[in-house]
């Protein structure tokens, strides 16, 4: 029983870490330009396709390339679409990102067909190791480590470098940041680029997990990440991260521990929980009082 508990905890931590990263990638951009970018899903998908198609060239090519693709797509979205919508309100921006998401999915269908593409990406990580009677998925551990390293790096970047500090300031109060001379375009581009890197990490974990990528690969996690970011407090970088982690953790635990006939409804429970959180803490769990998330 303890073995199963530890196993499920590790799995839940890893699910939480993945979703936390995905939510963070949305929250980073939202903090700066109030865009909850649903098309983040297609960045994840593109990065995953890249891993699948280039894996046979070796991980040292595939992984950097997949990061590059994610960052490039993220920046491309900003420059072609979102930078032209600066005065739109968050609701319109969200719809626009939905539109972009829909559009890109169809493009992927046309390019790569509706069928999933498969490749044994980092199959070594798919094994299970037994440790003191506890069976643990290597991938779960790897996910937690990757997330930890990324968060540490991001933290150091945000607190120790001038660009990071500027991004942090812009995420906290974009208007004032501009008024004191922080260049808007550069900071926004930076937030999209970082968001792309996080998306690439999410894509890596998910691709190793499933080994198969289709046109709507990134949609499921992005929906949950968006939900997580909002209930955690999308106005704050830490809020998005914590909310995403929470949703991932709870969903994973429910999947393990709910009785069979109820586990079909696990997403429903999570959604009910989400509505409850929004009712009592509309600005997010981590935000005190009324936040600034406006229509």
């Amino acid at each position: 029983m303890t073995g199963q508990l530890i196993q499920s905890l590790v799995d839940a931590l890893s699910a939480g870490a993945t979703l936390g990263l995905a939510a963070l990638s949305i929250g980073l951009v939202f903090g700066v330009i109030r865009l909850a970018n649903f098309a983040q899903a297609e960045i994840i998908t593109a990065s995953a396709y890249c891993l699948i198609f280039t894996w046979e060239l070796g991980w040292f090519i595939a992984v950097p390339l997949s990061i590059l693709v994610a960052v490039a797509m993220s920046l491309l979205m900003e420059f072609t679409v979102f930078s032209r919508m600066r005065s739109a309100n968050p609701a319109t921006l969200l719809i626009a990102s939905f539109g972009l998401s829909f559009l890109l999915q169809r493009v992927y269908e046309l390019m790569f067909s509706n069928n999933v593409r498969t490749a044994p990406v980092a199959s070594g990580l798919a094994q299970t190791v037994e440790f003191a009677g506890v069976r643990i998925q290597l991938l779960s551990v790897a996910t937690i480590v990757i997330a930890g390293l990324l968060l540490l790096g991001l933290h150091l970047f945000l607190t120790r470098t001038s660009m990071g500090l500027q991004l942090k300031a812009a995420a906290a109060d974009f208007r004032t940041a501009r008024l004191i001379g922080i260049p808007a375009g550069r900071v926004i581009a930076l937030s999209f680029a970082l968001s792309g890197i996080l998306a690439a990490a999410v894509a890596f974990v998910l691709t190793v997990q499933s080994g198969a990528v289709g046109p709507t690969f990134g949609v499921q996690i992005t929906i949950l990440a968006l939900v997580g970011a909002v209930i955690g407090g999308i106005d704050k970088i830490s809020g998005s991260l914590a909310g995403g982690f929470l949703v991932g953790f709870v969903t994973s635990m429910l999947a393990t521990w709910l009785p069979q006939e109820m586990s079909n409804f696990k997403d429903a429970y999570v959604f009910v929980l989400v509505i409850g959180v929004l009712l009592f803490r509309p600005s997010g769990l981590l935000i005190k009082g009324r936040g600034v998330a406006r229509t």
Partner: protein, 248 residues
């Protein structure tokens, strides 16, 4: 006041002032500022007073390029037309926004560092930091404290310090006395006096008419987006003028 004597404090080329000609600002077709002309010379403080909604803040935001405007905003004879705020700061104009808006979750030191992002040079940074910390010694003591934990008066000092870090020739302040205790207001205006004496052009928007008129070299009364009166320091005593200033 040793800083005031220090000729290097502030700009290396004194004499750059601000000229505004026919400034107009509108929100969604509703005019807020209807053609303002004003000039602030180096080493001069100019006040802008008037009732709520008169267009005082809009004037400052218009100068900063933060809202759409027409008319000319000249610094050193060069028009700032079409420049976004971050470029305007690089031309030597800095704003201390209404409500201070320090970055509450960042430390005092980080707030000051961010103010220096728009510096036109890379060399004067530590010098500027030293000047700001001499002007507001409190900031030195609280360098590592979160800015959000400072009192209102301390936050105002931080906001001014942050603006000075970009080494501006022209300093715009939007209601620096708002919500501050009388002693805190004194601290702020003593600092403004030093800044003015150091050769900077200071344009301050205020609600406290009497105080502002006495402090500034000239004070304009703004009403419905237009300048209706120009006052000298000695007018501060005249109550009827003040009444007129507020009720048109």
């Amino acid at each position: 006041m040793s800083i005031a004597d220090d000729a290097r404090f502030g700009s290396r080329q004194p004499g750059r002032g601000l000229r505004v000609e026919g400034l107009q600002v509108a929100y969604g077709g509703v005019p807020a500022v209807r053609g303002i002309d004003l000039e602030v010379k180096a080493g001069e403080a100019v006040g802008l007073i008037g009732p709520n909604g008169a267009g005082k803040s809009s004037t400052l935001l218009g100068i900063m390029g933060a809202i759409a405007r027409s008319g000319r905003v000249l610094v050193d004879g060069q028009d700032l037309a079409g420049l976004p705020p971050e470029k305007v700061v690089r031309r030597g104009v800095a704003l201390v926004p209404e409500g201070r808006h320090v970055f509450a979750e960042l430390s005092v030191a980080d707030n000051l560092r961010l103010g220096a992002v728009a510096r036109r040079d890379r060399t004067g940074y530590s010098e500027a930091m030293e000047h700001v910390l001499t002007l507001f010694p409190m900031l030195r003591d609280f360098g590592h404290r979160q800015a959000g934990l400072l009192s209102g008066g301390q936050q105002q000092q931080l906001a001014i310090g942050r603006a000075l870090m970009s080494d501006p020739d022209i300093l715009l302040l939007d209601e620096p006395s708002l919500g501050l205790s009388p002693t805190a207001v004194d601290t702020v205006f003593e600092a403004l006096d030093v800044i003015r004496a150091a050769g900077k052009a200071v344009l301050v928007v205020e609600q406290r008419a009497e105080f502002t008129i006495a402090f500034c070299d000239r004070t304009f009364v703004l009403h419905d987006g237009e300048i209706t009166l120009t006052l000298k320091p000695q007018d501060a005593e005249k109550v009827d003028v003040l009444t007129k200033a507020y009720f048109g």
